[in-house]
Structure formats: structure tokens, C-alpha cells
């Protein structure tokens, strides 16, 4: 190949391309858009989030990613256009007849385009660099300006150019090539994305390549493999283009060489791609194997670790560790083997005890010590485990689904790795999740569905490192010639170690040492707090006290707190069944590099907003006041909030800004675990989830508010209830459904804690519990011990309440009567009485929570404020309780929540509209047993609901197969067939729908169908005992048939009692009755004959509507309703026959 010829072709091809308007317009547009984006995000006066520029290398990264996608598309047009022009043979023949080889020609052409596109990228980068230089808070990461174009632009372009050329030669048609390639690009951008580990994503749009100031890329090998794959494939396609170019080759020799090049490069590309793919697949396989092993060994008796003396030497990425352990057998049986988990990346060098070498078996992440003679109950023994190697991160988070692990986490468009720890010569972050020291027992497994149960262990650590890294770990830090020693003051259940190039800033407040470990170049925040340096301590104390006293009633028990800056690639997953997220570790809070992602660390934006507010206000505030405010808000929102969104107007401030990451619902930086999870915990073999319930209770309390929204269907909680009535909690956890798991814990947790509190008294429970926790700080509490102590105190057994977890079928179901709302007076003023009865018709004990909303002076919106009063009633199966609630302010609404029950909806609102004035002396609140179960059955009334046996439905769907398939897909979930109707969706077959406005004693449901020709129908049948005239009523759930409802109307209707009408709905503004004027076609039949009745929904009552009076024999009778209607849909709920007197 003659380089001069290549150069000549390239020069003129790029010249021609550069002069084409298509390219120029594209280039100018691309640069303009980038300029705009840069102005918006990185510009001097922008309000864009700090997160976008916190990671300095993201400036070039985001720019290169943007322009890369645009170029990848444009390159297809240009490349195919080039060859299309070549097809006009006469034009190209001038060139073809010249003494250049096909290779020189194609390579020259490719280079010509490449050079131009690279030039464009360089221009974009130059522009970025200017922004970068202007921004004083974002340093220039020079290597990033080299890496990103090399890794992203070049492989992308070579690949897409090669592929375009090749396709053009293959299809000989520009149109077909366009279609195929644009389709492919569309697929990679919108469908393939990170599928197959991002293997098909040639633009590297989903390949995590965020570059940390600490450690650069985390997976350089994978990045190289991925990019090399496309570079090689592209080169292979270019060889193919040379080989199959429609021009006689100059010499035959080259021709076969080109074929060889094509096959060789494409094979090499595929091989490298396979290496990339396999790296991921191996991890997946490894994780499955780890889990399998954990399952296999779960449930074995486990030794108790008393102390662990760790000696760590760091050599680059590799660690040499000695773990000196003292263990005790707290089981009642002798242990012949001791089971430990230890990161599978470590190999065991030796295990020794005082008596010599100890035999062991190493199975992946498990380490089994074989003790000669075993270890008798209560006996202790010690041994040293010497191990070394590089920790393997694939063992972490075995409970997190692959889908969740692979979900992209992004800053703007830049995807970030999600590393459970950092293993890099320049930064070691050894989290407990990495299992870097031996822990007794197995980790997460499908038998218990809990992560590792952790002993409180007396840890001692000595670190030796040949680097200048700072060591950070829990405990008092001392240093001598042997190394750096950490001596924790308390036993700990997790022990992290960080070796990092960080600088310490420290202060002491009230005996607690506050350390900030920071990259010395990363202090972007001090300038925002220059006026309050003298008050920072008191602000911290204030915030901490507020949290401890008002929120938790627990106190910080550690002697220090270390805020540590970690590389941006570190990621801690949230789990639905525990409250700890590994951003928070004993004595340590891990904050992402430069605060990226945590919006409360975006001080510039807050400051600007404050200043703006200040300008608009007459009473301007001093800088000191503003800084105080900002610092308080930062502390409060970052560390003391449970949710990821702060409360406030307009939905409040989002605390975390990573796009696309599905794992964060809770605030991962909330310090709660430092008060509970790392201090104590109640462990239980039988009820492992009990601890999670207590965690949630302590952290945020349970959410018992009624369902959100108006449209019906079933909520997550109801779904959890329904599922729990069929299966045990562990079986349900095994669905790996985060939402469901979290609903289950919330539902059962609120049930159990409410029940216990109800039994022993709210304050008694809290007093006992908090003191108990304090007394048992830094030690594990077994459930047996806790429940024994609880019983000793209150004479109440906890375990029976916990049975709901394992119930799998047993469940309470409640009939709750319509409340009597009475008003009277006592000596002081008005007294309001709410009387109702509750019958538990289910087969397990249950609780019903009543929440009364009481308006202050002025009623709704009157500005008098709103208060709440709560009542909780425990009802045994089969029992009926009569209740009178006495309130001294006017209640407006009663929210009923049946917690864990078979009721649907599980909670609803009862509006208390007008009280009946009475004179009564009975002003005592009571809750007493009753002999009269709640019943909605009245004499001479025969009701058939859609849930009853007398109801049947018949559907033939005439929808297209696709539509039927989509409809059937909607129902597949769990066989829980309750849908919700809305303006956009009505089923093509009779489909069960749920809504609090439907008729139903415990299950308020109906059947709905789209309008049709009358073929599909439902039938209500019953047996009438006496012949005679009956009024026939049908139930029209008007409250559930409104469009665009407002919050006010939600849950307005009251099931079987038909009280919800008359609220003025459907008139004037507000929601419209959606089915107005629709005609329902009924056929009323008996052995005496049948009669058709067309009922028009003009102004139906919300509830029972009379169709007319008919004569019936003492026989089986029925009412049929078809899907024929003028309206959009037909809703079939309940019918009743009422005997006329």
C-alpha cells in the first residue's frame, strides 16, 4: 500500500466532503447545539446542577457522547452517499483508471471522512476546553480530552463507516442501506441500549466511562475490549469493502490478502467482543454459583465471632491479610466445622491455631474450617487465617437482581459504573459487602431472603501500606512502626476499610470527633461558608439534636464520624428489606466524589437562589444569615431525611440526581443506620424480617394513609395482602419484586407494631423499646430474648402476631357498619360521637385503624388547621366489636384502614357530613364485644354481587388477536384480576375491576366491558323463597364513573350503603359523569317468562337504582345485562330483589 496515494485520496475526499453543504450544516448545527448545551450546563451563570460538572472529566465526556451520536447517524448518510456517487461509474472511472490500489482508494476515502469528523470532534472539544477553562470550579482533566475521542469517536466512526461501505456494496442501494443502518442505530439507541451487557451499543452510549479524579476508569479492560471490538469489526468491514469494491484490483495478490483481512479482523472483533461479553457472563454465572452455594449452606449452625484482629498489607491492588479470630460456639450442639464467608478473590495461604495448622475447605466464597475434635457448646477457640489476593466484586449484592444491577446510572447522558467497593492501587474502599474479612455463616440466600446476619465483633485493625494513602476505618487511630492501628471503642457488626489519597479536616463537638476526608483539590464548598466558620459547630449540634430528639429518640453512640469522599463509581444498592445502604457504615459516611449526585451539596445553586430571593425581599438578609440557612438545610436534607425528595412546595427538592437509576427510593445518605442498624438489631431465625419492621418503625413510621388516586384497581398494599393470603412472605420475597417486598414489609410491619402498641399502650411500648435498645447497644439481641423480655414487661406474646408473615392463607376480613354520626353537648361544649360495629369474618385476628380528620375553626380551607385522632381496634376471627368514638372537635372524615386483611379496598374514606343531634348521657368512649355481627343483608332483600356464586359472565372477544393478547397480558399478573378503569382503557371482555365505590361487603369489585353488540353478557341469579311482587334494583357505582376527578371526590362512595351521591358531582366544573345517557340492557327472567328493560343512566343514584316492580315465582330467577349500550362501556356490579309488602 502506498501511503502517499492514501493521503492523496484522503486529502481530496475530505476536501470535497468539507465543502458539501450537508456536512457544513450538520457541523454548524452540531457545534451550535453543543455550545448551547455547554452554555446551559457548564456556562458561567448557569443554574444547572452542580452534579453535571462535579466530575471534571464529564465535560469532554458529555460533549464527545453528544457529538458521537450525531456523527454516527450522519456518517451513514455520508458514507453511503460516497459510494452512491461511486456508482455513477463514469465519474469515478477517472479515479478508478488511475494507478492506485483498491485498498489505497477505500482507506483513503475512509480516512478522508474520519479526519473531517475527528476535526469536528476536536473543534467541539476545543469549545469544551474554553468552557472548562472559564469555569474555575472545574479543573481541566487533560487526559480525558485524549481518552474520550480515542475511545468513543474513533471506534464508532470506523465501525459505522466500515459497516455503511460494506452494506452499500452488499445491497447496492443507498435506500436499503439507509433503512437497514438507521434501523440499526435506532435499535441500539432505544432498544438494545444496555442489553447483552451493552454489547450491541457501538456508540458507547451505555458503556460506563465516567472518569474519576481518584482512579480514572474503573473497568479499563472492559472499556478497551468493547471499543476494540468495534474498531476491529469496522476495520474488517473496510477490508471487505476493498475486497468487494466494484473495480478490478490492481494486483491479484492484494485481493486475497483483503479477503483474509476481512475475515481476520471480523473474527478478531468477534473474539474480542466475546471476551467482553464473557467477562460479564462469567460474573453472572459466578453470582449464580455463589447464591447456589449460599442456599446450600444456609440454615447450618453458625459460630459466634467474638473478636477479629485484622492485619492488612496493601500491595497495589493486592491485599495480604491475617485475620486473628476468636470464636465461641453459642449453639446447643457441638460444631465440627466452622462456616465462614470470605471474598472468593482471596486465596487462603494458611490457617493456624495454637495447636498447629487447621484443615479447611475453600468453596468459592465459603471457607469451612474443619476442627479436629470439634467445638463443644459454650467453648471458645482462636485461630489465624492468612489470606491474600485481589477482592472479587462479583460476590457483592447477591440479592440485587441482574436487571437492577445493569440499569444505567447516569449523570446527564454519561453512564457511571456501579461498584460495590473500589479496588484500585490508588484507592481502596473495602466495604462489608465485599466480604473482605471472614464473616461467620453464609450471605444472602433464598431460604431466609436476608443478607448476612452479622455478629457484633470486637474488631482490631492494623494496616501497612507501601503507598502514601491515608487509612480510614472505625475506631481510634494510632500509628507506630508496625503500622496504623484502629481500635474501635465498641463491638461492631460491620467493618469497612478505606485507603485513599485524602486529607483530613477535623473538629470535635460534644465529645464526638468530626472528620472530613477529602481530596485536597476537591474543596469547592468552603467559599460558601466563610461567614459562619464560628457557628458551624453549633449548627451541627442543633441539627443532630433535632434529629435525635424529635425524629428518633435515639442517640449517637459512636465517638467519631468520618465523612469520606469516594470515587464516583462507588454505588451502594438499596434493599427493600433492610434500611442500611452502604453509603453509611459504622462511623463512616461515604460521599460521592465532589458531591456529584447529591443536590444538597450544590451550594452555588442554593446561594444564587438565596440571593435572588434576597433581592426580591424588602428585608434583606445578611450573608451570615443566608449561609446559616444554607448550612442547616444542607445538613437536614442530606443526612436526616428518609426520602430522596425533601418536602416543600412544588414537590420539593430532589436530593439525588442520577438518571435512569432505579434503585434509590430512600435517601441513601440518611444517617439512621448509625443509630440503629450498626448499633443493635433483633436477629431471628424464624422472623428475620422483624428487624426490618422495627427499623422502618423507628426511621419513618408506617404509612397507613388511604390509597392514592381515584381510579380504583388495587394498590400495592392490597396486592401484598392478596398475595399474603395465598403464600408466605419468604415465598413472596422470592419474586424479587422490590415494590412488593417493600409493600409486604410495610403492611406486615405496620400491622404487627400497631397490634403490639395497641396491646400494651402506645407510650409503654415506645418507652420499653427505646430503653431496651439503649441497654443493648453494640450487641446483638435475639428475638427469643427480646420477646421474653417483652413478655416479662407486658405479658404479651409477640410471636403470634408475627405469624401473619408465615400465614399463607389465614387472614382477617372485616365487615364494618356504616357509622352513626351523632352530635350532643356536655358541660363544656359540643361532643361528637361516631358509632359503628366491626365484624371479623375472616379466619385470623386482625386490626382496623381509624383515623379521624378534625377541622379546626372554619372547616375545610378555613385556616383553622387540621388535626387527626387515631383509634385502633383488634378483632379476633369471628368476633364483633361495637365501638363508640368520642371526639370534642368536629370530625369531617373517617379513614378506615384494615391493614392486613382480605378487604378490597384495604382502606377508604368515610365523609362525616352532617351529625344527627341527639341528647344522650352515654358520653364514654367504648369498644365492646357484641353478639350481633355486622350484616348488610336485610329481611326480604336478596342481593347478588359479582363476587357471589349466583353471578356468571360470558364473553367472546371480537378484538384482534393483538388486542386480545395485550388485554390478556394486563391480567397475567399473579391472577389478581382487579383492574382499574380509566378514560383510555376498557377491557374487551368482562373483566373484574376494583374501586371503593363498587358494591361489595368486603371486596368492592365489579365487572366491566367495552360496548358491543349485546353478545357478551353477565347474569345474576338467585332463588326466591316466596312468589310475589319484587322491586328489582341494580347497583350503579356513580362515584366510580367520573372523569378527571379531583382529590376531593376520592373514595366518596360508600360501598353497599349507597350514600355517596348528592355531593354535587357532575354539575358545573369539576369531574363529569362519564357514562351519562348510556343505556343498559337488562333482561329479567323467571319461569314465568322474561322481560327486557332498558335503563338509561340519566341521573342515576350513586348506588341502588330501581328498575321496576315485577312478579316472580318462588323459583330460580335471573337478571341478565349485555354489553349493548350507547355509552363507552358497561359496568356490572350487583342486583337485588326486594319483596314488596
Amino acid at each position: 500500500m502506498n501511503l502517499i496515494n492514501i493521503w492523496n485520496v484522503a486529502t481530496y475526499e475530505s476536501k470535497t466532503l468539507f465543502r458539501s453543504w450537508f456536512f457544513r450544516i450538520f457541523a454548524i448545527m452540531a457545534l451550535l447545539i453543543l455550545f448551547g448545551t455547554n452554555m446551559g450546563v457548564f456556562g458561567g451563570h448557569t443554574n444547572a446542577r452542580w452534579t453535571f460538572r462535579a466530575i471534571a472529566a464529564n465535560l469532554p465526556y458529555i460533549n464527545v457522547l453528544f457529538i458521537n451520536v450525531a456523527q454516527a447517524i450522519i456518517a451513514v448518510f455520508l458514507a453511503s452517499d460516497f459510494l452512491k456517487r461511486d456508482k455513477k461509474l463514469d465519474t469515478t472511472e477517472v479515479i478508478y483508471a488511475r494507478p492506485i490500489t483498491n485498498g489505497e482508494y477505500v482507506v483513503g476515502k475512509t480516512l478522508g471522512i474520519l479526519v473531517l469528523f475527528i476535526g469536528l470532534v476536536l473543534m467541539a472539544l476545543a469549545m469544551t476546553l474554553i468552557f472548562n477553562l472559564i469555569r474555575k470550579d472545574v479543573p481541566v482533566v487533560w487526559v480525558a480530552y485524549l481518552y474520550y475521542p480515542l475511545l468513543i469517536t474513533i471506534p464508532t466512526l470506523v465501525f459505522i463507516l466500515g459497516l455503511s461501505f460494506f452494506m452499500m456494496i452488499l445491497f447496492q442501494s443507498q435506500a436499503v442501506t439507509f433503512l437497514v443502518l438507521l434501523g440499526y442505530i435506532g435499535l441500539t439507541l432505544f432498544y438494545f441500549q444496555d442489553k447483552l451487557y451493552g454489547m450491541l451499543d457501538y456508540m458507547a452510549f451505555n458503556l460506563p466511562m465516567v472518569y474519576s479524579d481518584f482512579i480514572g476508569f474503573t473497568d479499563s479492560r472492559l472499556i478497551l475490549l468493547h471499543r476494540l471490538t468495534y474498531l476491529l469489526l469496522g476495520t474488517g468491514f473496510i477490508f471487505a469493502t476493498i475486497r468487494f469494491l466494484n473495480r478490478l484490483p490492481q494486483t491479484g495478490r492484494w485481493n486475497s490478502l483483503n479477503l483474509f483481512g476481512f475475515i481476520g479482523f471480523v473474527s478478531a472483533g468477534l473474539f474480542v467482543g466475546a471476551l467482553y461479553f464473557n467477562s460479564y457472563r462469567d460474573v453472572t454465572a459466578d453470582r449464580e454459583a455463589y447464591l447456589e452455594l449460599n442456599n446450600q449452606f444456609a440454615g447450618r449452625h453458625v459460630i459466634d465471632v467474638v473478636s477479629n484482629n485484622l492485619q492488612v498489607e496493601q500491595h497495589g491492588k493486592s491485599l495480604l491479610i491475617t485475620s486473628g479470630m476468636r470464636v465461641q460456639n453459642q449453639n446447643s450442639t457441638r460444631l465440627d466445622t466452622l462456616l465462614f464467608s470470605l471474598n472468593p478473590g482471596f486465596s487462603i495461604d494458611s490457617i493456624t491455631s495454637r495447636r498447629g495448622a487447621v484443615d479447611y475447605i475453600r468453596k468459592r466464597q465459603l471457607l469451612i474450617l474443619v476442627l479436629s475434635g470439634g467445638l463443644e457448646p459454650e467453648r471458645r477457640t482462636s485461630f489465624n487465617i492468612h489470606y491474600s489476593g485481589v477482592p472479587d466484586e462479583s460476590v457483592a449484592y447477591l440479592d440485587i437482581t441482574r436487571e437492577q444491577m445493569e440499569a444505567a446510572k447516569r449523570i446527564m447522558v454519561a453512564p457511571i459504573n456501579k461498584k460495590p467497593g473500589i479496588i484500585h492501587p490508588d484507592y481502596m474502599l473495602l466495604t462489608p459487602e465485599l466480604n473482605w474479612y471472614p464473616v461467620a455463616g453464609v450471605g444472602f440466600n433464598l431460604k431466609t431472603f436476608q443478607p448476612q446476619e452479622l455478629d457484633f465483633v470486637r474488631f482490631r485493625l492494623t494496616v501497612k501500606t507501601d503507598s502514601t494513602l491515608t487509612a480510614i476505618a472505625p475506631g481510634r487511630k494510632t500509628e507506630d512502626e508496625e503500622g496504623i492501628h484502629f481500635t474501635p471503642e465498641n463491638d461492631l457488626n460491620a467493618f469497612p476499610l478505606i485507603l485513599a489519597p485524602l486529607e483530613r479536616r477535623s473538629m470535635e463537638i460534644d465529645g464526638v470527633e468530626y472528620n472530613l476526608y477529602l481530596n485536597p483539590d476537591h474543596d469547592y464548598f468552603s467559599d460558601y461558608f466563610t461567614h459562619i466558620t464560628d457557628t458551624i459547630k453549633s449548627l451541627i449540634t442543633e441539627a443532630k439534636d433535632d434529629y435525635e430528639l424529635d425524629e428518633l429518640d435515639l442517640y449517637y453512640s459512636f465517638d467519631r464520624i468520618n465523612l469520606v469522599e469516594v470515587p464516583i463509581q462507588f454505588h451502594a444498592y438499596e434493599r427493600p428489606y433492610i434500611q442500611t445502604v452502604e453509603n453509611i457504615l459504622p462511623e463512616i459516611i461515604l460521599l460521592p466524589e465532589k458531591g456529584a449526585g447529591i443536590n444538597t451539596l450544590d451550594f452555588q445553586r442554593f446561594k444564587k437562589a438565596e440571593e435572588r430571593r434576597n433581592r426580591n425581599n424588602e428585608n434583606s438578609r445578611s450573608p451570615r444569615e443566608m449561609e446559616t440557612d444554607q448550612f442547616k438545610r444542607f445538613l437536614q436534607n442530606t443526612f436526616f431525611r428518609a426520602e430522596t425528595r425533601s418536602r416543600g412546595r412544588g414537590g420539593g427538592e430532589e436530593l439525588i440526581t442520577f438518571q435512569g437509576d432505579i434503585s434509590y427510593n430512600k435517601n441513601p445518605y440518611c444517617v439512621f443506620p448509625l443509630y440503629y442498624s450498626y448499633v443493635t438489631g433483633i436477629s431471628s431465625k424464624d422472623y428475620p424480617v422483624f428487624n426490618s419492621m422495627l427499623e422502618i418503625y423507628l426511621k419513618e413510621g408506617f404509612d397507613v394513609s388511604p390509597r392514592d388516586g381515584f381510579t380504583g384497581g388495587i394498590t400495592d398494599k392490597e396486592r401484598a395482602n392478596l398475595l399474603l393470603s395465598r403464600k408466605s412472605m419468604i415465598e413472596l420475597f422470592a419474586r424479587w419484586d422490590t415494590e412488593l417486598t417493600s409493600s409486604l414489609i410495610n403492611q406486615t410491619g405496620s400491622f404487627i407494631i400497631s397490634a403490639l402498641k395497641n396491646r400494651v399502650g402506645m407510650n409503654n411500648f415506645d418507652n420499653f423499646f427505646y430503653y431496651y435498645l439503649e441497654d443493648h447497644a453494640f450487641s446483638e439481641i435475639t428475638f427469643e430474648q427480646f420477646s421474653a423480655d417483652f413478655y416479662k414487661e407486658f405479658k404479651v406474646e409477640i410471636a403470634p402476631y408475627l405469624e401473619v408473615i408465615n400465614a399463607g392463607g389465614e387472614m382477617p376480613t372485616f365487615l364494618i357498619s356504616e357509622p352513626d354520626y351523632l352530635q350532643t353537648r356536655d358541660d363544656i361544649g359540643d361532643v361528637y360521637l361516631v358509632k359503628f360495629s366491626i365484624t371479623n369474618v375472616g379466619n385470623a385476628r386482625g386490626l382496623v385503624d381509624f383515623n379521624f380528620r378534625i377541622m379546626g375553626q372554619g372547616g375545610f380551607g378555613g385556616g383553622g388547621g387540621m388535626t387527626e385522632e387515631k383509634r385502633l381496634y383488634e378483632v379476633e376471627a369471628g368476633e364483633t366489636r361495637d365501638v363508640q368514638v368520642v371526639l370534642y372537635d368536629r370530625p369531617m372524615m373517617m379513614t378506615v384502614n384494615t391493614l392486613i386483611s382480605g378487604n378490597i379496598p384495604s382502606s377508604y374514606n368515610n365523609f362525616l357530613r352532617s351529625a344527627t343531634e341527639v341528647i344522650t348521657a352515654d358520653l364514654e368512649e367504648y369498644e365492646r364485644n357484641s353478639e350481633h355481627p355486622v350484616s348488610f343483608i336485610f329481611k326480604d332483600e336478596f342481593v347478588v354481587d359479582n363476587e357471589d356464586d349466583g353471578f356468571s359472565s360470558f364473553s367472546i372477544s371480537r378484538e384482534s388477536k393483538l388486542k386480545q393478547y395485550i388485554d390478556s397480558r394486563k391480567k397475567e399478573d399473579d391472577g389478581l384480576l382487579y383492574e382499574s378503569l380509566n378514560e383510555w382503557w376498557t377491557p374487551s371482555r368482562w373483566t373484574p375491576v376494583a374501586h371503593s365505590a363498587y358494591y361489595g361487603e368486603t371486596l368492592r369489585s365489579a365487572m366491566a366491558i367495552r360496548r358491543g353488540d349485546g353478545t357478551n353478557h353477565v347474569t345474576w341469579s338467585t332463588l326466591l323463597p316466596e312468589k310475589g311482587f319484587y322491586d328489582v334494583y341494580v347497583y350503579i357505582p356513580v362515584s366510580a364513573m367520573y372523569q378527571r376527578p379531583s382529590r376531593r371526590e376520592q373514595g366518596g362512595g360508600q360501598g353497599g350503603q349507597g350514600q355517596g351521591s348528592g355531593m354535587g358531582m357532575g354539575r358545573g366544573f369539576g369531574p363529569q359523569f362519564a357514562d351519562k345517557g348510556a343505556d343498559y340492557h337488562y333482561t329479567i327472567s323467571s319461569s314465568e317468562g322474561s322481560e327486557k328493560v332498558i335503563y338509561e343512566l340519566n341521573n342515576p343514584e350513586d348506588g341502588w337504582n330501581r328498575l321496576g316492580s315485577f312478579h316472580f315465582p318462588a323459583d330460580s330467577v335471573s337478571i341478565r345485562l349485555t354489553n349493548q349500550t350507547d355509552g363507552r362501556r358497561v359496568i356490572a356490579d350487583a342486583v337485588k330483589w326486594v319483596r314488596r309488602k
Partner: protein, 297 residues
């Protein structure tokens, strides 16, 4: 230098035979390739410039098969294709520069001098900075010939170079070619315009439907038509009837009738005088009277 075509056959994938066993020898000087559209001229030329492989047969250059020496042949050849459009976004001089580079002229100074020289010789120097697509049809052709000649090729192949040119441009173009024909080069001029050949070529070949039907000097071809070209003065009625009998190649109004020239046997009853034929007459006479009237081989 000598180019020999031996039993050259080209059959396209659809079965169409563009060239059928053509044997031909071309030597230094200007060689005209004449034939109607679709006769196989362009196919022949594309084989000669190594853009196409014959189905069978050989092309020998000084005794060597060119398919084994494509690089060498491409170095020697200057080629102007039939329907050539320039890359729109290049200036005249840039296009020549590109062609020169591709032809292997690596010295910038030498190349630049040669580009200017060529621009001068085709009369485009003052348009050197004009974009190639902004040139007139004639200018484009001239630029086309300039790119073909840029590397002083010893074989120049031009395919239908005068199509679409006005008469003045056409004469200029012919002169340019004949100037080159004096040096030791082979110039192959493929055309269906007879005048191009008669005024420039010393050798020619006539192709029809892929077959070589004449090879020799233009004069010899003209001789074959002697006695078949007539001039007559006829009335309008006669003109109408004669039109269907013989090919009339020129008509000039004269008095109440026409002065015409026609080719072929003189029909009875027409008063006509013999005229000395030219190449065009000979070509038309051949095309109209089919091969059986001819004794060319």
C-alpha cells in the same frame, strides 16, 4: 507501441454480448472507434483502461497481456470517460492536481507546473479557480481531456468526447487531439460522430452490435462508398416519394423544390449526379444498406 485485441469477447450477466470475438491491432497515432450507440465501443474502452475484464480473449500491449499489468497500464493511460461529471466541490486546478497526484506525480512543484501548463493548453488557465461544476460544457470537456493528459500518458483513450459540444468547441477539441496525435502516443477516440474521426484519425475501426466490421484507414472506408452518393434537384412530390426509398442526408430548398444528397443505388427516374463521398456518407451508406452491399472484409 502496439495494442492487440485478440478474440475479445464480453458477455454481460444478462447474456447480452457487448463484444463478439473482436480482433484488432492499434498502433501509434490517432485511432478512431466508430459505431452506433450500443455497438460495444464503451465496453471495449473500459476493457482497455482495465476497468473491466473481458469474458474471453486478450488485450496485449507490446505483446503483454494487460490483465497481469494493470498497474503499469493504468500508469500509461489517460482516460476521459463518456459521460463525465466532475466532483462538484473541487476547483479546476484542484481537480487536475488530484488527477496528477493519483497518476503518481508526487513532486509538488512539478505537479503545480504541469497543472498550469495543462490549464494553459486547454485554455482554462483563467478559470483555474472556478468550481468544476460552474464550467460550461465545453470547458468541462477540456478540463476532462486535461486530466486525462496530465501525467503525459502514452495511451490516451477518450470516449465520445464531443457529444453535446457546439461546433466551435468541437473543432477546438479535435485540434487539441490531433496535436497530441503527432507525438508517439496512441490516442483512441471512440465516437458515433463521424466528423470527429474523418478530421483527425489515420486509422479507424467500425463496430456494430459487438462485432468489428471495418478496420483500416478512413479513406479506404470512404472509397468503399464511391458511386453510391448522389446529388439531385427534385420537386416536393418527388422528395416525398424518394424519402422512403433512400437515406437522404442533406436537403437544401432550391426554387420550388429541393437540392438533396442521398446515399445508395440511384432509383430509376431520378436525375442525379454522383458526388465524391466523405466518411459520413460512407458510414450512412453502410448503416443503411447492411453488410451484404459491402465488401469490406
Amino acid at each position: 507501441m502496439k495494442i492487440e485485441l485478440k478474440n475479445l469477447t464480453k458477455t454481460y450477466s444478462g447474456g447480452f454480448k457487448a463484444l463478439d470475438s473482436v480482433d484488432l491491432t492499434i498502433t501509434d497515432g490517432m485511432f478512431g472507434l466508430l459505431g452506433p450507440n450500443g455497438a460495444g465501443k464503451s465496453t471495449l474502452i473500459r476493457i482497455l483502461v482495465t476497468l473491466m475484464q473481458p469474458t474471453s480473449g486478450q488485450v496485449l500491449l507490446d505483446g503483454k497481456d494487460i490483465s497481469g499489468y494493470r498497474k503499469e497500464i493504468r500508469k500509461m493511460v489517460g482516460y476521459l470517460p463518456q459521460d463525465f461529471r466532475f466532483f462538484a466541490k473541487l476547483r479546476s486546478w484542484e481537480f487536475l492536481d488530484y488527477a496528477a497526484r493519483l497518476a503518481g506525480m508526487n513532486s509538488k512543484r512539478e505537479r503545480s507546473a504541469r497543472v498550469d501548463e495543462m490549464l494553459e493548453s486547454v485554455g482554462l488557465y483563467e478559470f483555474r479557480n472556478r468550481m468544476a461544476n460552474k464550467l460550461s460544457g465545453g470547458m468541462k470537456r477540456r478540463l476532462g481531456i486535461a486530466q486525462a493528459l496530465i501525467a503525459s500518458p502514452s495511451i490516451i483513450i477518450v470516449d465520445e468526447p464531443t457529444t453535446g459540444l457546439d461546433p466551435e468547441e468541437r473543432i477546438r477539441f479535435r485540434n487539441l487531439l490531433s496535436d497530441l496525435g503527432r507525438s508517439e502516443t496512441i490516442i483512441i477516440l471512440s465516437t458515433h460522430i463521424v466528423g470527429d474521426i474523418s478530421s483527425t484519425c489515420n486509422q479507424m475501426a467500425l463496430l456494430n452490435e459487438g462485432t468489428l466490421i471495418y478496420h483500416g484507414t478512413p479513406d479506404h472506408l470512404v472509397d468503399q462508398a464511391k458511386g453510391f452518393v448522389w446529388r439531385a434537384e427534385i420537386s416536393q412530390e418527388k422528395y416525398d416519394s424518394l424519402k422512403s426509398e433512400v437515406p437522404i442526408i442533406s436537403t437544401i430548398p432550391s426554387g420550388g423544390g429541393w437540392e438533396i444528397q442521398f446515399v445508395g443505388d440511384k432509383p430509376a427516374g431520378v436525375e442525379a449526379v454522383k458526388v465524391d463521398p466523405n466518411l459520413e456518407h460512407a458510414y450512412v451508406h453502410y448503416m443503411d444498406n447492411k453488410l451484404e452491399h459491402w465488401n469490406l472484409k
